[in-house]
Amino acid sequence: MVVAKQLGFLMNLKRCIGCKGCEMACQNEHRLQEHRRRKIIDFCDQTQVAGFVSMACNHCANPACMTVCPNKCFKKRRDGIVYHDPINCIGCKSCVGACPFGAPKYSSLTGKVDKCNMCVDRQDKGYKPACVSACIVEALQVIDINNGAADYSRSAAGVKIVQFTDPSARFILPDKPQQYWVKNIDDNIE
């Protein structure tokens, strides 16, 4: 049997500090203006921000966008990347509605849809995607989901992920927040 390869993003929620470096790198790499391919979402623990998740296209195993596109603009490569080829795109926005993660976005400048392609051009040359190489805390990685990704969580803490499309995103969950109090020196003196 052909061993299926499925590339996907691995997010280490322990490390992400929400610096938006990945967002900026993506904007810069693809010269995007009004819309973003990657977005940092913060999730809240009742009152305060408890962590961040960096989300782009999840390159699902069963991509909903591929099923609905009337012009066959989407294809799933052998490495599992869901690639959007804008040449035939007519901007019908059916994929925008179908994707549960809102990964494809309509650009009014081009009149076409645009989506994260996991920087296939960079990857084909042997580089990491722009967002991954820009992450200073190394919270974002590209892994092969079908090989040795069993230890990672399928859903991020606090942010639920629709499972029907089988998104190829994995997470390392954060530890419970810990707080340390420094003993007040002044108290001792008294």
Binding site: M1, V2, A4, N62, P63, A64, M66, T67, K72, F74, K75, K76, R77, R78, G97, A98, C99, P100, F101, K160, I161, V162, Q163, F164, T165, D166
Partner: protein, 588 residues
Amino acid sequence: MERQRLLLRELLLIDNCLEYQLLGGKLAKDQTFTELIIYCPYRQDQSQDQSQDQSQEQLQEQSEVQLQEQSQEVLRLSERANKQIIIDIQLLALDKGQLLVAIDLTDDSCEHIELLMQYSDNIAAIIVLKADGSYLSKEFAERAMESSIPVILLEKVTSIQLNSYVELLRSLKKANQLLTYIASTNSYLFIAMNKYGISHAWSIIEQAIQQQLFVFNHHLEPIPISDAMGEQILDKQEEWQLLRNEFRNSKNIASDKLVLEIDVSHAKKRWIILKLEADSLLGYLGISEQVYGTVDELDIANVKRIIPIVIAEMIKRREVMETKRQYKQIFLYDLLHNNIEEAPDVIISQARLWGWDLAKPHQLFLLELRNNRIAKLPYEEMEHIRQLIKNTIAGYFKTAIVEELHGQLVVMYSDEIDQDRKQRKKTAKDIAAKIQHNIHEQIQEIEAIIGIGRFYPTTEQLCRCYQEAKTALDLSKYSPGVSVMHFEDLGVMRLLTSIRDEQLDDFLKEYLQDLMRFDNANNTDLLNTLQVYFAENGNFKTTATKLFVHTNTLRYRLKKIEEILVVDLQKPEDFVNLYVAMLIYSIK
């Protein structure tokens, strides 16, 4: 002391004697001999190899010593110059027909054979040795053909070798190790296979045991190893069916050797089935008992020596098939994931390489096999299921493409474009149910779950059909009792899949949270009641039976639910809202 009786057949099973030619006479199965006499006619040509001459002299001495031990003077050679032998066999205190005479033939004069024929009563067989590989003279061959006793030609064997083989045979028989020895010596066959191919090695064994041999897969379907075998297999269709039935009913399938008896056109026929195992069960080797006689231990030992060769051949074939299949799978992956950039006609011509006709539109199923016993099916089982699916679809006059992709089976068959949508859907579901039934019937522990996509008129849209089948297969697990799911039957579930989870969660909470809280607080099971009520299409009677309660209890409980949730189950809006909420609950 009486000399040990040896079967002539045993001698001919020794590695180098395997490839013998019967020049004349008949070789009976129970032909025995006790004594070997080797006659080397005098060579006038002194320029012959000195060492060979020497060895022949030695041998003569040897055989003479042997005979003298019995205080018999058996072989008296007259004047060598006359090239005459006089064998005074009457002097030999042997039973009739127990003498094996070997002639190391260097010149083809017929005198030897003529002379020996005079004593045909006493001679078991004549072995003609032709170690130098030259041809027999026509004259000699004609004489041999008229002979009443078997005349056997052995090429590539010298008289010394033959003598040592007989000695070896004697000692092996004494130690009761003959069968093990024969079964384990197969270098000769390996060499024959490497030089001339497996069909040559095959025919050597078939000749030695004088029976037909067949290779089967692990469901006892014959596999053609050579072209000739393919024709023989076609001739015996009825027999295979009988054999398979008998095999299925047989109780000791686990044993290494299995004897099956079948009735072929009112005549009893025996088959001996040997296992082919390498790591896992590869198949079987079958000996069909022919008119020539029964198969005994000696034959089986002989057949056993070809087993490693057959196993090697089968593994090789499987590897080749696997490689081809990998290319197929990659093509299929590309096709179903919209990954081929070429024009449709290029796709069609590429598919033709695999024998697929993609010019016609195809209906696609996705089949998942669930097995309670083991995680992954072995290769043979998978192959069997694949064939089973093909046969089932062939029953509907359609040709099927069955390929494995990421642990699931992709099943495609061509369909007419101008057909009613409902009719097409019904046919597809019928075929799927039939496939499922057939698989379950053959292998009980396997359950097949099938997802069916919608039909699209062009090949480019197969990718969409595949995704739909995948969705149908994934979501079928939320509809209990349904194992054939058509994408069109998913209904509202299809819409739910493209809604974000948070929204679904909110919807669920909005409609059912009060009920869940009530259940927790009062230790009731109203949520389950509602679930069964929906599953039974709102029928009071069947719901009550399912829940083991009285209808009035059910009425009371539904009233309570209506009170808690402030809804009216008779109102269509409320009913639908609660139904959808319940559906989301069951998916999560």
